[in-house]
Symmetry: D2
Subunit: 354 residues, 4 copies
Amino acid sequence: MAGNSFGNIFKLTTFGESHGEAIGGIIDGCPAGLTLDFEAIEADMNRRKPGQSAIVTQRKEPDSVRFLSGIFEGVTTGTPIGFVIENTNQKSKDYSHIQDAYRPSHADYTFDQKYGFRDYRGGGRSSARETASRVAAGAIAKQLLKGITCNAFVSSVGDIYINKPYQDLDFSKTEDTPVRCPDLETAEKMISRIKEIKKDGDTIGGTITCVLKNVPIGLGEPVFDKLHAQLGKAMLSINAVKGFEFGSGFCGTKMKGSEHNDLFNPDGTTKTNLSGGIQGGISNGMDIYFRVAFKPVATIMKAQETIDSQGNVVEMQGRGRHDPCVVPRAVPIVEAMAALVLADFWLLNKLSKL
Amino acid sequence: MAGNSFGNIFKLTTFGESHGEAIGGIIDGCPAGLTLDFEAIEADMNRRKPGQSAIVTQRKEPDSVRFLSGIFEGVTTGTPIGFVIENTNQKSKDYSHIQDAYRPSHADYTFDQKYGFRDYRGGGRSSARETASRVAAGAIAKQLLKGITCNAFVSSVGDIYINKPYQDLDFSKTEDTPVRCPDLETAEKMISRIKEIKKDGDTIGGTITCVLKNVPIGLGEPVFDKLHAQLGKAMLSINAVKGFEFGSGFCGTKMKGSEHNDLFNPDGTTKTNLSGGIQGGISNGMDIYFRVAFKPVATIMKAQETIDSQGNVVEMQGRGRHDPCVVPRAVPIVEAMAALVLADFWLLNKLSKL
Amino acid sequence: MAGNSFGNIFKLTTFGESHGEAIGGIIDGCPAGLTLDFEAIEADMNRRKPGQSAIVTQRKEPDSVRFLSGIFEGVTTGTPIGFVIENTNQKSKDYSHIQDAYRPSHADYTFDQKYGFRDYRGGGRSSARETASRVAAGAIAKQLLKGITCNAFVSSVGDIYINKPYQDLDFSKTEDTPVRCPDLETAEKMISRIKEIKKDGDTIGGTITCVLKNVPIGLGEPVFDKLHAQLGKAMLSINAVKGFEFGSGFCGTKMKGSEHNDLFNPDGTTKTNLSGGIQGGISNGMDIYFRVAFKPVATIMKAQETIDSQGNVVEMQGRGRHDPCVVPRAVPIVEAMAALVLADFWLLNKLSKL
Amino acid sequence: MAGNSFGNIFKLTTFGESHGEAIGGIIDGCPAGLTLDFEAIEADMNRRKPGQSAIVTQRKEPDSVRFLSGIFEGVTTGTPIGFVIENTNQKSKDYSHIQDAYRPSHADYTFDQKYGFRDYRGGGRSSARETASRVAAGAIAKQLLKGITCNAFVSSVGDIYINKPYQDLDFSKTEDTPVRCPDLETAEKMISRIKEIKKDGDTIGGTITCVLKNVPIGLGEPVFDKLHAQLGKAMLSINAVKGFEFGSGFCGTKMKGSEHNDLFNPDGTTKTNLSGGIQGGISNGMDIYFRVAFKPVATIMKAQETIDSQGNVVEMQGRGRHDPCVVPRAVPIVEAMAALVLADFWLLNKLSKL
């Protein structure tokens, strides 16, 4: 209700601020009998965590997940899975300079207005640190979705983009470079660009594309919980996201019906897939693909004028260790949120018909 | 849960198929004491209804809303508002030709797969007729949001688009043309284009932009129910929508942080508004603006090959009265959904602090 | 959220006041493929409706349910089932005498305080007329629960009660008398008592016992949504209910563990059933039985002193046609609510394990 | 959804098994700006914890709550409050004897059937240890409810009961004896009785009465979330509870309307209070009082025949440290659940009218 839960049946509730004692969450509704692969969970956590490479923040966060309940001898028991991720390396002093000032395009001002005051140590609840809990839960959701593959990758950084359809990409190469772009030539350009930007104390935006394969037919709950509506909400709930499109997306608005319609093959598959694997809000068995827009990170290492809580104009300059471009680390978050949506609808769909 | 409710506190649940007896809904959570302007509700219903002009479908649907409860002597009582809109002009025979065939890029196939069979009379539940209930509820939500204005308009049809920032538009002109584009020169081009397309038996996509002014600071419930995440879900739940972006949107991905950050004025407003009125998922008092992508309508008046439920290839041609371009009639739907989101968060926000 | 929905998956939302245009509701989450028996629905509606016999109110309400959606050719489609019951015989003038006065032990005063004013025509939303929608929905829930039987009956009226265990009763006799007590000797005494009370212009309380047989093992969702907790809430939400107990109930508090424990048979059934068919909040396959306490109806045909909204003392006397004892007509309501709880948990339980 | 959350706005989700690593929960929806009294929280935790006296279990559990988020400098921030209570003194070996056997009248059999297997170390999720999380959350809810007092006490143990109306009791004496009965003479009898029972290796049931004073008018959300319906669900969700009644309760069923109706004083209070402070599901400002029935604890120190998971008959005898009577320790749990219900409705009620 107050915004910290996601999902209907496979439901994640998270807690925690960037500079509190710990973050974590509860997954309620995971069926009993799922044998968990903890290494796979750890692997996703490592993909998200800071300090992996020269193009992401150098903060060190161990990000290891401690599961407290809901699992017995490695198998889910059907009871809620509580988990905690300690905040071990948070340097609160790094943030003393912003105690009285609102960082531009951050949530400082709006949190202060909404709640009457704020935890000024870093982003608090609005920090992307919270997404570590999503990745942990998403990793479990992925394991529930046997046979479904979920591949996200960086499709653009600034104006550098992959100029190929996703079908021509080899997703096994996504992790080959720190920028998580499976087209290695483009990846190199992206990395150079990010390094340049970083040197300049600036940041840059980008997009992530996500492809979901082998999704069973029937997922999605019209009319309000259409599969793409819930995927859109999931993506837009990730920090720094400004847009979402699936299938033909914004390009599709320029097309004619006779061009856009996906004609059927006799087996129910379609000859084209401008629908993006979803028709009427329900998966049709074709690949689901969508694109997520991320703005440039708001914390820059350049001086900016801003105001404090009394409305005084003050100068501020980002310190600490921040990402020059958020998309590489956001790839596992996009996958996690997609998996949470699919797991929830996969369970709900078991109840569609007698 | 099964997808037919929207909202947390100001909650709309809808029912009804295009060719059933009636559609309607229940609004639960509207506070007592709101004096309703029924003419304003009727006006919004009329904006959505078919048959308004030469560029939309010629079906006639009276679309008058019968309120059954929750209102006493014109004032809301705090009890649920039930309402019904009769389906008076549904010609089921128009649909006999599709009883055994799946219309391409419609929900026929997915509904059949999900539920085991389908109501083959028109779109059934997936028909845009359902959105009439949303418009009725949204019209009440608008009245709750005194002082907030909610202006949607057609910003593009195919590749014809308004080449001006929204600040340069006069929203009082939106209703001057049937295409609902306030830039009258562009409107003329759009109308010509839609007429051409219609003559050709084809359809075309487009975009709608929506601007929300005077939204109080503090609306939105992070981390999952961020204001823009819920707006995105609301828009993506509208038929034919393929994408959503707010503020700088997809363009913002190409920008640098130093360009993108919205610097503060001493009064807490910002000098620029690439954030689109939302920071950290919470409204900041600036204009909220977003753009919604609509695909071309799938029903075309041209022959298409498709399959029937046995997988036989059959030929099909759209009949009946359908829209060549959906965006003009979708304008009030976009406004309604935006109003539902705002009303819900406006109520929830009263509980943010002691 | 605002209290007019019940259930998680099989979810009923109701609307409507006693003297508005109509009441009704939406059932969301009923699986597709259920062939409905409309006569069975009508039969339950008739059991609840006023005017059936000399011991209940003589108001006439046709109470026929008009289903508007979610059903195609007699079979549920998986889309929401909207329904309406018109208020055809509401005499608003009967209530003019209470416009300015609060009826003792009614909801008049609390509604006025909570919502700022009230619909003074009868009970408004707090009238038991609302339960007609519950009976309609419960009748569908019953049909979903093939093989489960749901038998409620009047077990006491005032201090007259059935002095036998339920196992000795023949539930096929419940409908043989208007008091709905299957023990015909006791039924006669109850009827005499109610007639006496009625003659006196007074009212009397009573209890209903409900027995659910053949409930599958596994229904109920601990820790908060224990089967008996949700049954208790369901029953306590019915007008005039003051208490709920299941299994050994309040008597069980006087027992020792060695007497109260239900020992197992080798097949998992238990030798005794003081647990009432529920252990740890989950059905164990034994009979579920519970008892519901109803207070005497507050509207009496005797003069009572009360106050008006200005705090003036006024005299008031019930008019119109009211029940001298509510329990006979409440029997189908108890069954309906029990069926709604079971249907919801029966669906949810399909998701408990892989 | 899967049963581990309680509340709409002030919402508690709990996790944890008796013999897992830790238990805990998340409170979402607590408004910002509440200065917490941690000693009061600790005091409630101590009232619930085992090992307090000779008449309760001698297990030692430190039960100290570690708050991880949502609080900054002692004040709630409006973000979710995550908390953990470590399981430090769980002796899993105590339970090896029940690994293959179902304890009579416990949840062993039903959990096994529902989830396909069970965590056999103690009660797992169905253990009353879970209620420690409720007490922690309830202690915060109490602090939100300034001015409202919430007094629960043991009103009977077996057939020994307080033979006085609650108005004649001095609640400040409730904590004077380990049995938590404020009538000290009756308390002595209860203690003797429990000691007897314990010596015998047996257990005994009892009741708790709870009185809520100074509750504002208007709490409760008809028609399904009536205040007493939600209180009833809350109480019935506590381990070992078999019944709930409020106001006149089951006794009220024997009364006539003319006796039972609470006549008004000119100020809106009532001369009597058989309604128990709730009319039409909404608090009316009078004292709310209710009674909760607890069965005897199922674990007894006597040999009982039972079955194992293969259906073999085996003999079993309780070991370890269990309560001979659960009601003394359940007093703070009843208060906690009542406070959670009130806090939730207190917040919701702010939205009832414009």
